[in-house]
Every structure is written in structure tokens, then in C-alpha cells.
Symmetry: C2
Subunit: 251 residues, 2 copies
DNA sequence: GCCTAGGTCCCGTAA
DNA sequence: TTACGGGGCCTAGGC
């Protein structure tokens, strides 16, 4: 248990010195902005980061139950009955979160020295790059033309040319492809046909595809190639590329 | 500053008693699972929730830099040189996060009593429901048939019938519509035409639409209606519905 | 600033 | 369970 005045000091100190602020206690939360929300009393974890990021967590689930991104202006107000912390942001839209603590179990502030960035392996971009280095495993005679080729809007992951000189749009997905992946590829293919004319093929390349997505893919005359990859460190590896054009039941 | 043994006790107590655990200190993080990542030494905030949720936060940005959802099994190991906390999950895929603290500034555990759920206003579902009650503001003679009508996969927000008895698929978006919204609506419209036959119209309803999306919409013979709504408490209100079929420059 | 798409997306819901 | 789409999505990258 911590007094509200003391808790307020901890929060203010964090705001002042650009420290991380952590508060645990019972509170109510009100939000208004892009949407609006109310959350009745319960025990929560409040995090305020030096950049203005504001997070309210409940005791389960990954996602913060209320939040505000970098740039929020935070104010505090303590009374004998409680501590209120408010986050307000004006850009891109006026948004306000108000957290009213009726009990504070802990309030602390911490310096956060950290200039390190995450090194991530196995992103779609990385897989796409790997695939581009060896397109003939995908199909004999396939030659890369361009990576991340910009479209009227959006970008094809890989633009290639097959043995017959036909343009091939390749969309790579790092995980199971659904309907959205097919429509996305289809959009690129149609755009390319309109712009360049002639035959344009579309290949979707992912670890797996849903039955509905595969059906749509076939109806649209697009192709599917199963992508087997291995997450490694320091980099991902494409295990084997095997053209699949057989029946649905395989997927 | 906190000793590693003491910090380990705090974490173990949290795990034991199903409490929330908060640790602040300098650490390195390693992740392997759906992808892989490395993060060198820096000051971070570690959160472990009673349900196994595991979050590592840096001092900026909203998103956790490393994380694991509910269901992770957590283990701790302290040595004279540091404290290591590991989270491992087997479903839906084997994933491991390892956090190695080389300094602990704080480690605490907290009970989290909370049976409250967020009440949210202004969701797409709510707007869709409001719109359904008054479809004639959208277009005279438009009558609702079904809400959240299931498709072969996916669901149309609103299925309606116009004055001529033609089927109308309505997709509602609570924010700016992009290309994806148009392709989504288009998919429903095509599916309905194939299943029911006859004329099927498609109307996209959102606060605004990007230029490219509007172009595609017109090319596909779909329609757009600007949706003006107001976030209220305890509920949202649709301010005015005005059919827009004029030129692109309006948007 | 807008727009587009990725994300270890997360999450709820319905079949 | 899978699959699909919403999300106050967030975030990065291009223009």
C-alpha cells in the first residue's frame, strides 16, 4: 500500500526526469477518442513510458486494455480519496484516457537506458530476399526482375519473368495464407496486366493456405507454391520449395 | 538495486500465487519460435501475468519488444552473475523467450483481482447495428435482410434489399477505407452473385476512403456512402448519411 | 502528411 | 479446432 501523495510524487518524478513509471493498484479507466470506453474498478498495472506511451494492463491477456501511443501529455492529480492520472493526445486526434486509482499498491519510476534495437529473423522481407536469390527452385527458368516493386499502390514482393518471358508476380507470406492474401496478389496481377499487357502470372508462396483461399486462387487462375522455411539464427533458411498443383486435400 | 536471489523470490512468489510479476532492470532477450530475435543489453520492463502472458517492454513505443501470449510456462534461475527468466509455450507452436538480467532495479509481485470487462463504444459492430436500424437514410427503400450474414467464408456486415428487390451487400468500416476494404466487399458481392444470381449491389460505408480505393471501387461497379458518426457514451450515433457518387476530388 | 502492407500481429466469434 | 475479420489495431517504409 502506498499513499496517494507519495504515488503522485513517483509519477511526477518519472514525468519530470523522463523515466519509466509503473503503478499497480485498483482503478477505474475512462477513454474517449477514436472510440470510447469504460472500465470499472479492478486491479491494474499502469505503465507510462518516457515518450508518453501510456498502457493499462489487466491481469490477463497480452493486449493492454486501454492505451495511448507516444506523444501523450500526462497529468496527475491526488486527493485524499485517490490518484488520477490522465493522458491526452491531440495528434492525430484528440484522445483522452483517465485512470482513477482508489488504491495504490506500488508506484515507482525507473531510468531506462537502452539504445539497442531488436534483431529479427524470419520476417517476410527476409524470406522474400532469400527466395529471390534462388527463384529457380520455385520454377525452372524463373528470373528475378525486381524486389518490392511498387504498384499504383502497394508493392509486389517479387516481380519475375518466367522461361516464356511472361511477367510473374510473387507474393510471399510467412504464415498461412487466407483469402486476403489471394485478393492482394490478384490485385497486383490485374494491375500489371492493365499496365504492361500480355500474360501475367501470379504465384502465392506460403507455408500453407486455407481451403477457401486455395479455391479462390484457382478460380482466379493464380498459382500456389508451398514454402517450407526454417527459422534460424542469424538468419532464416528456405528448406525446400516444391511446386504443388494437386488437389485441395493436400492442404 | 535488488539482489538476484531476492528478485528470483519475487518472481517465484508471483508464479506460485498467481500474481502479477513486474521486474525492471538491465537484460538481454532471446526469442525463438514463429520467428527468432535477439536484443542486446539494455534497461527493460518485464511483465508476467497470472495467465502466463509474458511481456518485455523497452522505454518507448507501445508494443512489447518481445512477448508471449497466455499459456506460457515460466521458469527462473538465479546465479551470482544474474537472473534468467524463461517463458516457454508449446501451443500453438513451440516458442521460447529467455530474459537474462544482469541488473535488477525492481522485482515485485501483486495480486490482481479484476472481474471487470471493458465496455467499448463506437466499434464497427455497433455502427453496423445502428445503420441497420435505419437503412433508408442510406438509400430510400433499402430494407435490411440480415446482419453479419455468413458467406462461404467471411460475413457481410449487412445484407439488404433495395427498392427494386436487388440484393445489396453493405460493408461498414469505422475508419478510413483502403484497398483491402474494397476487395473484401467485392469478394462478398461476387460470391452472392454466384450463389443467388441476379443483380447484386455492393455499398462501402466509411468515414472516408483513399483515392486508390475509390478508383477501384468504381472500376468494380461498387458504391460508396460516406458515414459520419459520433462517438458517444453510452453509445455511438450516426450523424448523417449522405449518398456520395460524385467525383474523386471530394475525398 | 497520406497510403499501403506486415505483424512472433492479438483477439473474439462462429462453424 | 480452424478460419475469418476487427482492432481505439501498431509500426515501418515509400512517396
Amino acid at each position: 500500500m502506498t499513499g496517494f501523495a507519495e504515488a503522485k510524487r513517483a509519477v511526477d518524478e518519472a514525468l519530470d526526469k523522463a523515466k519509466l513509471c509503473v503503478v499497480v493498484g485498483e482503478c477505474r479507466v475512462r477513454y474517449e477518442g477514436r472510440a470510447a470506453s469504460k472500465l470499472s474498478e479492478g486491479d491494474r498495472l499502469l505503465i507510462i513510458k518516457p515518450d508518453g506511451t501510456f498502457l493499462v494492463h489487466q491481469g490477463s491477456k497480452m493486449a493492454a486494455i486501454n492505451y495511448q501511443g507516444p506523444g501523450a501529455a500526462i497529468t496527475t492529480a491526488a486527493s485524499e480519496g485517490g490518484l488520477t492520472v490522465t493522458a491526452q493526445r491531440l495528434k492525430p486526434l484528440k484522445e483522452t484516457i483517465e485512470v482513477e486509482f482508489s488504491r495504490v499498491d506500488f508506484a515507482g519510476s525507473f531510468e531506462m537506458r537502452d539504445d539497442k534495437k531488436l534483431k529479427l529473423f524470419g520476417s517476410e522481407r527476409e524470406l522474400s530476399g532469400l527466395l529471390m536469390q534462388d527463384l529457380n527452385v520455385l520454377e525452372k527458368g524463373l528470373r528475378p526482375l525486381k524486389k518490392e516493386s511498387a504498384m499504383p499502390k502497394g508493392a509486389v514482393d517479387i516481380l519475375a519473368e518466367d522461361a516464356l518471358g511472361h511477367l510473374v508476380a510473387i507474393e510471399v507470406k510467412r504464415r498461412d495464407a487466407g483469402l486476403a492474401a489471394v485478393t492482394q496478389l490478384n490485385r497486383y496481377v490485374h494491375e500489371l496486366r492493365k499496365r504492361k499487357g500480355g500474360v501475367v502470372r501470379g504465384i502465392l508462396c506460403s507455408p500453407s493456405i486455407t481451403a477457401n483461399a486455395h479455391k479462390m486462387l484457382e478460380q482466379e487462375g493464380l498459382e500456389y507454391v508451398k514454402l517450407d522455411y526454417e527459422i534460424g539464427n542469424p538468419c532464416a533458411k528456405i528448406r525446400g520449395l516444391e511446386k504443388k498443383q494437386r488437389d485441395l486435400h493436400e492442404y
